[in-house]
Symmetry: C2
Subunit: 473 residues, 2 copies
């Protein structure tokens, strides 16, 4: 109780949660991970975060930083020892400044991503990071996990959208690194070391992020394809023909679209006959700095050429914003439709684009050998080499059977990813979920250097122990 | 002699240079830094680099890695103790692979930048890194210093152009990190830690770099402006109007252009009357994925609007490639013209774009107060907030007087940069030149973490000691 009293002394009673009040912070949003903690601390300033960390060092209390608690790998959930402090950044919600001439904005870690997007839009600017959880995830969590999303093809991952960070170190010091500079070669890149480290090296409390001009128009097309190889060739042509105006290139298996319309009959696949029965489709998005007409014209030229070259079987180009939205809606409904068909086994993998076709063919075949009749639910950001390579039970297996097969399927897919020079975590991070798999697929020298860095920056081992790397004994 | 014999035993006599043969490796290309070494080792493979480092650890021999020896801060020159080994990467010149579907290329550290650009072009792709030394600098040196250059506005610094690195660590192990993935969230960002660390943490021996489609057309415009503030507003409008097709935005003081035509009478400023006497000019470059006509049309629209809004006084849009080249030639001739007017004091600084006008005004005024009559030679990459803020002696001072004032001018400018939240090294790095200034302008917590990382990754302190950070006693 001494520890709890001290926490209350530091923050005030209302910002130290225990019991029922703490519950939602101790379980991840999908209910897959749960743990215990001394309490949940909700500091109201960077200074309070720093004080808390100093207190944790002095009392040997492990810290689990938490943003919107929307992670997919258990990175923000404490273990069940009950010895840790969950440190929620939820009260650090200031947009500290917007500089439209410098195209930068300084935001605190607890800002909801959607709030950040809106603040940019209010200043006639775009902050392009966009992902399914944007209504509840925080920019701090996005930074901690180097989140990806749907705009990576053009704008990069979260890492590429950040110019500077403010960090409370594992010893409770404040690193003032909120520079708004596009060029700064004064020493080691500490910014990128903290980004993606999942709270295991320090706590990012604020960041200077990049803003972009809002596109004048966006236009979407859906094209039907005979193979992934054709999709890869089309991607190459589209990058050439559209340049950086190409902001999306999503690959979708035909079966996914059929699943969507089966589940949501009010949606429809905008093709007829043979064109509606193709094995693969691609959704392309253009962001134009001229006009909607110009975007459509560009689509007609580049997609027209691809049809003539035999790469594309059929194509629909949205004629207005609502048609564009309907096409995106098909894509976005896939995970929801997937859910209504029961539990599935999900993989967030990346593969060099050039090896994608071979990876899918080889892995599908291996899965059918060991788990005949299993169903493939394949879609993803082809432009980034990022595939959501998911497996559904189909009519062959029960939910229980699928769960029983889960570990073997994970292993088969991860081994295949490894063979094809891919990554077992493209955009979700490591957390607890993939921690023990990591040493198997990562270069041993990289693992060694990661442990050295952990030791150097978190000498007391209090920062989110057991995440990314196994705890030191 | 024992050490030398062992080196010869490892590499063969022809690849261990001493005496006259070593001389050009012991002085930087501008002759500002020189040192001594046991020898210059020229390993022919990554394995040999690793062996050499292990040997250096065993014999406590400091290592100075060297690429094309074109650095500007003395980062690749040994000290004068004669105890170090210069390790030249010049024989690691393989383009190991090109993957046009994945838009990546694997190159070894010793490849000349121009060779890398050409290899990309031969595969119908663009590798956009471009800088003055491209005919002799190596990609390894570009990586070690996170080089900038003229295309940063659109494509980013070297850091942003790299997906993976292969590194020989400070203990002679090989880190296999040549991934060709655009998304990979499996642990700490070691890649970006080595990039920009100037050979003080390990040796980058190869990299997987990003390729882009070649633009279909490029077009250039020169516009005359009344103030830096107008230039900043124009930059904002141009980013909005052109989107990512805007690949260059260079700010040039009127005095620089007049210096160029005075020095090279065959060149001319393409304006008449008042328009030729403006205080500032900007050079804009568009890279178009449609056609040269389209690029010109876009220029006419956006620059036309800026003239109507009173932001731009006058403008010339190139009508063909040779006119574009002539405009760029004016810009590129500034440093050469500068040289013919005698020694100058150069600063490679960055400032938030929004504070650029105020920085120049304040700093110019302070310099005139302390050094009346001194001349300002100001130009740079406004789009990146990167200014070459140079000082010439004019007719007021002799070369000797200027040199005598040098340290005071450095300090005045750096202090001003600091006041305006800028960086004292935008793209050239730290090396020896700015090492001792760094702790004055960098956050003390950042300095502390940098030293921790140095200690963790280079525990024997053999990697390029005395560069970036002071050597440990």
């Amino acid at each position: 109780m001494k520890l709890l009293d001290e926490l209350v002394g530091m923050l005030g009673r209302q910002y130290v949660l225990t019991g029922e009040d703490a519950q939602s912070y101790l379980v991840d949003w999908r209910g897959r991970y749960s743990g215990q903690a001394i309490a949940v601390a909700r500091p109201g300033s960077v200074q309070e975060v720093a004080e808390l960390i100093k207190w944790c060092v002095a009392n040997k209390v492990p810290v689990v930083p938490q943003g919107g608690n929307t992670g997919l790998c258990g990175g923000a959930t404490p273990d069940d020892s009950g010895t840790a402090l969950v440190l929620s950044l939820g009260r650090l919600t200031q947009v500290r400044s917007i500089d439209t001439d410098n195209d930068t904005m300084v935001v605190e870690a607890g800002c909801i991503l959607q709030t950040v997007q809106q603040a940019a839009r209010d200043a006639d600017r775009l902050f392009p990071l966009s992902l399914a959880a944007e209504g509840s995830c925080t920019i701090g969590g996005n930074l901690a996990t180097n989140a990806g999303g749907t705009q990576v093809l053009r704008y990069g991952n979260t890492r590429e959208l950040v110019l500077g960070v403010e960090v409370v170190t594992a010893e409770g010091e404040i690193m003032h690194g909120l520079r708004g500079l596009r060029k700064d070669n004064t020493g080691y890149d500490l910014r990128d070391l903290f980004i993606g480290s999942e709270g295991t090296l320090g706590i990012i409390t604020a960041a200077t992020i990049k803003l972009f001009p809002l596109p004048v128009a966006q236009c979407t097309a859906l094209v039907g394809l005979r193979s992934i190889n054709d999709a890869v060739s089309l991607l190459s042509n589209a990058r050439k023909g559209f340049g950086p105006a190409l902001t999306g290139f999503e690959l979708i298996a035909g079966a996914c679209l059929h699943g969507v319309v089966e589940c949501y009959p009010q949606q429809r696949i905008p093709f007829e006959g043979e064109s509606a029965q193709l094995p693969w489709y691609a959704l392309l998005e253009l962001s134009d700095s001229e006009s909607a007409e110009h975007a459509r014209e560009r689509f007609e030229t580049v997609v027209g050429d691809a049809i003539e070259a035999g790469l594309v079987v059929d194509a629909v180009i949205a004629e207005n914003i609502s048609q564009s939205k309907a096409l995106w809606h098909l894509r976005e409904s896939i995970p929801l439709a997937e859910k209504t068909f029961g539990k599935s086994i999900k993989h967030d993998v990346s593969i060099p684009v050039s090896r994608m076709a071979e990876f899918v063919e080889t892995t599908n075949a291996a899965l059918q050998t060991y788990f005949p009749g299993i169903q493939h639910v394949i879609f993803g950001h082809l432009g980034d080499g990022n595939l959501h390579y998911n497996i559904a039970r189909g009519s062959q297996y029960s939910e229980e059977q699928l769960l029983g097969m889960q570990d073997a399927i994970y292993e088969l897919v991860h081994e295949s990813v490894y063979q094809f020079d891919g990554s077992i975590s493209a955009e979700h991070g490591v957390g607890q979920l993939k921690r023990d798999a990591l040493p198997r697929y990562k270069d041993p020298v990289e693992m060694k250097l990661m442990r050295r860095i952990k030791q150097a920056l978190d000498p007391h081992g209090i920062m989110n122990p057991g995440k990314v790397l196994a705890s030191r004994k």
